[in-house]
């Protein structure tokens, strides 16, 4: 159960984080109450859900963020950019933790430390907005069960102090002395220390085995200080410490045997009257007088001592609770605490029926009484009484017979609500008395680390549609599938596509060997059928892997915002075509290059507001991120309206670093020149920038994109901006190729790269500056002989009277590649070269042909 639950939590948490993050960015642009609600709800849900797991640092951090948002929502705190930064950073940290949960099913070891740092920062803004808010933020945790063992004086001092209280325990590591820790000193120095007790640990070895230089102690202490201050103080031993912020109420622990003397009833009546009239001095005197006549060890005596001490200052309701603890007329602690755990002592005492259920039923009955005390709108009253009736009837089978009879009798008089309430309360004595010493066993949270969990697909968030679902609309039925399964399916589909090529080869063989044209044709027909099915299968499987580009784009609003803040520039991000889909692997290969390109555009492209105004542009720049599909490719463009790239600067630089000769430089068009920024080792920005490295990143970008089977190029207009275009194949699994022959060898060329194939008569090939060219529809196209590029001997025999030319697109240029001939077209799986061959330049990989031969597939951009 646990791991399935965690596997469910991880994508949900990511989606909530994403929603909160993008909400914050939107909120910064324009304030909207709905956006704020949305963010708050996301953070709130995350906090509530994270409580199901044993990941306290995460819950605490999200809790602090939620508290901050509460203040913002209440209008008590303005959402300054620094606060947005703080919240975003915290969400990022939580995101990292979620990643860690996914990979190792536990938070990182430093999570507690990292959490306390962030929480201090978040609480800092809270305290600035109002101390009351900060105090309320820590007043909700369950009190540890050893609290009652602390000296009563310490607890009384704490109750009166009015500052936030933390009960904490500390079990120093056995070997702590060897690491230079001084536990006693650390405890003594704790901020706001009110009381401490030292005891041996639960498990101490027998004396003859006990190593005296190891620590076997446990400290339990109470401090009047904010939890953050304590976690800061104890940060180096955070793994050995348990902090529990507590409310002053939790300190009202009255230990000792019960004394059932009638005198308490009289005292109760009088004390209530004194509290109500504000006669605090008399209350104190009455308590002192009663103390004089009863034994000091009873729990009533403890309550009386407290009343005597607190009478002059305490709030009336606190005193009422203490009085109630003496005469037993009301619970000494809120009923919710009674719900927290069935006390074993009472459970053991009850005879017959299932004791925990009896206890539970009593607590539920007490809640009904409390509910009936709360005033309600008239319209709801009848319904509420009906529901109470149902609940009471359902509790009856779990109760002792006498109690059930009393309740049944009270229910039989439906008009008499007061009587029902009184009867309901009768069970409270046992419930509340036992609740006075709460025994909150550690909440049994599902352990986070057990058996390995199934890997998760980072599929589109299924909950998004669900949360937005209105009445009636059925949520889209989603299936979470392990990505490895889809990959396996994809591989089989691809293998099938390749294997079917064998049939075409077989048909040819049948015709050659047996001379049966009929049989060959039949095989070809069968091939066509299998071909169609294989293609449908491949398209279908591919569709599973297709993801919208928005998966990659969604991180950019944040990136642009943060980068702009760092650079002191202003830019608006425009995203277009985020619904365009591409294969998951392709998108993943795109993610890093895209970050680099966006950072480059922001860092080097967009000018400062002052520069822009001086150039007659709006102070705010625009960065356009767009995606679209063209044939079998995804085209991604990163365009800015910044200062553009100066071809003269690039030209000079390229010549200076020896990238091109001055002669070459003179021949190159400005469009070609600017694309030199992709050359290895080129940098237009002289100084190192903290954001985009040294500007050498563009060659890395080109390498990454080419590795994924795509290409990248740049267009720029000086003073008007630049546009980087990335072209990637829709999928990387299957490549359509055409085989060509050169120097007696066969090679594959990806069809994507081939614009067209033409036969060029020898007479139309001209030499221009030592380079062969030909004219294709008024465009001069340079020619490259493939055999030369590959270092092969040219084909022997008489030169043909026309050349077979493959016109290839390399970037935005067209180049004619002269080959000896074209062979068939087919679909193959291109496997990258590995081992010794991995270093070969000019090949994107190998493909297995239908007849078992291995084909080298060319990578034209590398080759030319």
């Amino acid at each position: 159960m646990t791991n399935a639950l965690l596997a469910q939590f991880i994508p949900e948490a990511r989606e909530l984080l994403e929603r909160a993050g993008s909400g914050l960015l939107a909120l910064e642009k324009s304030h909207s109450a709905e956006a704020l609600d949305e963010i708050f709800r996301a953070v709130h849900t995350l906090k509530g859900t994270s409580g199901l797991f044993d990941i306290a640092p995460l819950t605490n951090l999200v809790h602090a963020a939620e508290d901050l948002l509460v203040e913002v929502r209440a209008g008590k705190l303005a959402l300054e950019p620094e606060i947005v930064d703080g919240l975003l950073d915290s969400l990022d940290l939580v995101g990292h933790w979620i990643d860690a949960l996914e990979t190792r099913e536990a938070l990182p070891d430093d999570a507690a430390d990292a959490m306390s740092g962030r929480v201090v920062a978040l609480r800092g803004w809270l305290e600035a907005s109002g101390p009351a808010a900060a105090a309320s933020a820590v007043a909700s945790e369950a009190a540890p069960d050893w609290l009652g063992a602390l000296p009563e004086a310490a607890r009384q001092a704490a109750y009166a102090s009015g500052s936030p209280l933390v009960a904490w325990s500390y079990e120093p590591d056995e070997t702590c002395f060897f690491r230079g820790d001084d536990p006693a000193h650390l405890v003594e120095q704790a901020p706001g220390l009110l009381g401490v007790r030292v005891l041996p640990r639960e498990t101490v070895p027998a004396p003859e085995f006990c190593d005296p230089v190891l620590s076997w102690l446990r400290y339990e202490a109470l401090c009047a200080a904010p939890a953050e201050a304590l976690s800061e103080h104890l940060r180096y031993v955070s793994d050995q410490v348990q902090l529990s912020p507590i409310t002053p109420d939790a300190l009202v622990i009255l230990a000792g045997p019960e004394d059932a003397a009638e005198v308490f009833g009289d005292f109760g009546v009088r004390a209530r009257a004194l509290v109500a009239t504000g006669a605090r001095a008399e209350l104190k005197a009455a308590a002192a007088a009663l103390l004089g006549i009863i034994g000091p060890a009873t729990r009533q005596a403890a309550a009386l001592r407290r009343i005597a001490a607190l009478a002059p200052t305490a709030a009336a309701d606190a005193l009422q609770r203490l009085v109630a603890a003496i005469d037993g007329a009301a619970p000494a602690r809120p009923v919710s605490a009674a719900m927290a755990a069935p006390p074993p002592a009472v459970a053991a005492a009850s005879a017959g029926a299932d004791a925990p259920l009896r206890q539970r039923a009593e607590a539920i009955l007490a809640a009904q009484a409390e509910m009936l005390d709360v005033p309600v709108e008239a319209a709801l009253d009848a319904g509420r009484r009906e529901s109470v009736r149902t609940v009471v009837l359902r509790c009856l089978p779990h109760l002792a017979p006498a109690r059930a009879e009393a309740l049944t009798a009270a229910l039989a008089r439906p008009g008499d609500a007061a009587a029902l309430r009184a009867v309901l309360r009768e069970g409270e004595d046992t419930a509340s008395a036992s609740a006075v010493v709460p025994a909150p066993k550690a909440v049994q949270k599902p352990a986070v680390s057990t058996a390995p969990t199934a890997p998760l697909t980072a599929g589109p968030p299924a909950e998004a549609s669900e949360n937005g679902t209105g009445s009636g609309a059925a949520p889209a039925r989603m299936l979470r599938v392990d990505q490895a399964k889809v990959d396996t399916l994809m591989n089989f589909a691809a293998e099938l596509t390749v294997a079917k090529n064998g049939l075409a080869y077989l048909a040819g063989r049948v015709e050659q060997v047996s001379g049966s044209r009929q049989l060959g044709r039949e095989i070809k027909e069968q091939y066509a059928v299998i071909d169609r099915i294989a293609q449908s299968l491949q398209v279908g499987v591919m569709a599973i892997r297709m993801m919208p580009v928005s998966q990659v784009f969604q991180r950019f609003p944040r990136l642009v915002r943060d980068t702009m803040r760092k650079l002191g520039k202003e830019a608006e991000l425009v995203i277009q075509g985020e619904d365009t889909e591409a294969d998951k692997n392709v998108l993943e290969s795109l993610a890093d290059p895209l970050i680099h390109m966006v950072r480059n555009a922001l860092d080097h492209g967009i000018e400062t507001p002052a520069e822009r105004l001086a150039a007659g542009k709006p102070a705010q720049g625009t960065l356009r991120l767009s995606a679209r599909q063209e044939n079998d490719n995804v085209i991604i463009e990163v365009a800015d309206d910044g200062k553009g790239i100066d071809p003269d600067v690039v030209r000079d630089k390229a010549v200076r670093v020896g990238l091109i000769t001055p002669d070459q430089a003179a021949q190159m068009a400005p469009e070609e020149i600017v694309n030199l920024v992709f050359a290895p080792g080129f940098s237009t920005k002289e100084q190192v920038s903290d954001l985009s490295g040294r500007g050498v990143g563009m060659d890395v970008v080109r390498n990454a994109v080419r590795k994924a089977g795509g290409d990248v190029w740049l267009a720029s207009r000086l003073g008007q901006g630049s546009c980087v275009t990335v072209q990637l194949p829709l999928t990387m699994a299957v490549t359509r190729i055409v085989t060509v022959e050169a120097g007696g060898q066969q090679y594959g060329v990806a069809m994507d790269a081939v614009a067209e194939t033409v036969k060029v008569p020898l007479g139309q090939i001209h030499r221009i500056k030592q380079r062969e060219t030909f004219v294709l529809r008024d465009a001069v196209i340079p020619l490259v002989r493939l055999a030369d590029s590959l270092g092969l001997a040219p084909a022997t025999g008489a030169p043909p009277d026309e050349e077979a030319v493959m016109v290839a697109r390399v970037g935005r240029e067209r180049i004619g590649i002269v080959v000896d001939g074209f062979r068939e077209r087919m679909e193959v799986i291109v496997r990258p070269l590995d081992g010794l061959l991995a270093g070969l330049v000019g090949f994107s990989g190998t493909a297995l042909l239908g007849d078992g031969r291995v084909l080298l597939v060319l990578n034209l951009p590398d080759l030319i």
Binding site: L357, I364, D373, G383, R384, R394, E466, S471
Partner: protein, 123 residues
Amino acid sequence: MARILVVDDATTVRMYYRDVLEEAGFTVEEAVNGFEGLEKAVAESFDLILVDVNMPKMDGYAFLRQGRTMPELQAVPAVMISTESAAQDRERAYAAGANLYLVKPVRPEVLTEVATVMAGVVP
């Protein structure tokens, strides 16, 4: 077989309740907000409703208030489960018509006991 409706916008939380309650032999239906909860609660009958506080479209308070005025729902016991433990939150829940207020995270055995008693499972 006692039937329980779980109304919470967090998928993981619903899954947790479902795991625990189905293990204990209950039949569990889910709704992602108060609106859907009302629709399901009216269309089918339930022995117990567990409802979250903060949800989009219709929150837990509105869900309870609406439910207590509807003949089909007014007698059905309802437990509100929240992350807040302050007394005023509990009172708000009672004022809206909750029969019990629990604070997240609810331990599996507490959830099972509460469901057993309030959904009317006779021992």
